[in-house]
Each structure stands twice: as C-alpha cells, then as structure tokens.
Assembly symmetry: C2
Homo-oligomer: 169 residues x 2
C-alpha cells in the first residue's frame, strides 16, 4: 500500500508548525510511524563545515549520510522534480503517514490552517482541501471544519481520511 501523504498549508504564522507538532506527537502516541517533510525557501542548516560528512558532500557526493548511534543525518542535492509524493515513494515506503508542511502549490490532499488573527480567508481553493482547521466557528465553506484547538478531533479526522485513502489506493 502506498504511504498516504497529507499536507498542512496556510499563511505564514497561521500556526502550521505548532499543529504539525501536535499531530506528530498524537499520531506517534497511537503507534503510527510518521515522517515529515517541510518545504523551505531557505537553505537548511548544513552539517558543520570541516566535519567528515560535510567534507564528503563538499567533494561532490550527491548525498552524504552520517550514521550515529541513534540518529542519522543525510544531506542531499535537491532534485526539483521530487515533490512530496515522489519523495515519499522513494524514502518513506514503509511509513504509516507522511505529514507535509508547505508545498501549498503542489497537488495533493491538504488541510489548511486558518487562524483568525492571521487571516479570515483561505489561501487555497476549497476543492484542494480535505478540511480546514480553524478557530473561527462561523465559516461557510464546502469542506469540513475542524477546531484548530481540538487536536484529538483533528487526529481522528486524519485517521479516518487515512483509512479511506488506504482503501482507495
């Protein structure tokens, strides 16, 4: 079965990362093996200059992987064609769920985080969204509304979506 991929989108400062943390934590507590993908317009912090794996990468390796006792760290060149779905097929075939932050313009199932303090209107068109997680009660939208502050309800919704996605795939 293909690993389901779900993106959290929303304006900057809408609270995407905070919700990601809560979802990862809650879903991991339920025994799911989760990978996350975050898209950034900034270059990620590299491994420290002068360290061995940094030296391998600098010498021209497309990927440098440093394996420690508990964690491993991989630095790779980015292939622009690798969207979250393709990255998941390549890297996360044996995960239960991949949660994505960003990649708003890439097609795929999305939950938009809409926090009233930041914006009153959606960033994405509603046909892209499987739900909107918001602190506003009176929105009139064609997609399910989830209470941004009720992580349990959001997790239940994601698990239901995941089991339907599993059937459909």
């Amino acid at each position: 079965m293909t690993t389901p991929v779900l993106s959290l989108v929303g304006y900057s400062n809408s609270g995407k990362t905070t919700l990601m943390e809560k979802l990862v934590s809650g879903l991991t507590a339920k025994g799911l093996r989760i990978a996350t993908i975050k898209h950034s317009h900034h270059q990620p912090e590299m491994d420290r200059p002068g360290k061995d794996s940094w030296r391998h990468k600098q010498a021209g390796a497309s990927t440098s992987l440093l394996v420690g006792p508990e964690k491993m760290l991989m630095v790779s060149d980015v292939d622009e064609s690798l969207n979250p779905q393709l990255l998941t097929e390549r890297l996360f075939a044996d995960y239960d769920l991949v949660l994505v932050e960003g990649y708003a313009s890439v097609p795929g199932p999305k939950i938009e985080v809409l926090r009233s303090e930041r914006s009153q209107t959606l960033r994405c068109t509603s046909d892209e969204l499987i739900a909107v997680a918001t602190d506003m009660a009176d929105l009139d939208l064609a997609v399910p509304l989830l209470d941004l502050n009720d992580t349990t309800a959001i997790i239940d919704f994601i698990l239901q979506w995941k089991s339907r996605a599993g059937e459909g795939i």
Copy 2:
C-alpha cells in the same frame, strides 16, 4: 542493477576521510553519481534546536526531511539492522556507487588505508579486502597494493572493480 557499495577502512588517522574526498571528487568528475555513508560513534550534529524540522523530529517523527532550494537535510532514527548494503538498497538504488567510511566490522568489499606513520600492519584480515591503499612499497600481502598518493590509480582500480561487480550482481 544493484548499486555497488565499497568501504574504506583503516585505523583512525590513517587518512580515510582525505582519501574519501579525493575519490568522491575524482569519481564525480568522471560523471558518476556518488553517495557516501560514514559511520560514527558520535551523534551527528542535529538541525538547530527550535527550527521547524527539529520541532517535527522532537515531536516524535521517525524522520524529518527539510527541503531547501538546493539541498535537503534528513534526520532519522537509526535502525541498527540497517548496514550499508541495506541502507543503499533503501536510499541509493539509483546511484552509481556508494563509498562507505567506517563499518569495518560489517561484511562487504573494502579497501584498507594503511599509512606507515600511523601503522605498519593491517587492521582487517586480507580476505575481506579488495586492495590496500598504502604509502609503503615493500609490503608482502595477498591483495593488490595501491599507492595511497596516486588517486588516479585508485580510482581506475575502483572503476574496474565496479564494472566486475556490476557483471557479477
């Protein structure tokens, strides 16, 4: 075809990382797509505390992947059963060659770096080795000797081994 995996082993301070740099650089210049794996007894430098991908990992994700404009950085939990061969099958199926530094005790083809200043005797038994890269001319060993300072010759040897490995696999 399975991606060939070749390990550089040797005592600490034998010059493994320096040779890795030269090999990666020379093989990349010949158009090969190289990945490197380095085994360390120290925990790798994590992404900076407080950054989004660090927060995803801290929240319990097994893997956190941060994709920037040119580089992507992945932090994963280590599965102890994943030796270089299995890591390669999972991550580097479409690479031309994986060069490994360390993992001296894991079976697989190896070149030992033996620098006279550091040690006069091999660390590995010679039946594990496809060659010894050394600055000593008068060694009597049952494996091919390569001049540690002649990167071109070492690269040619690796390419010949790689083409034989490719046929045999």
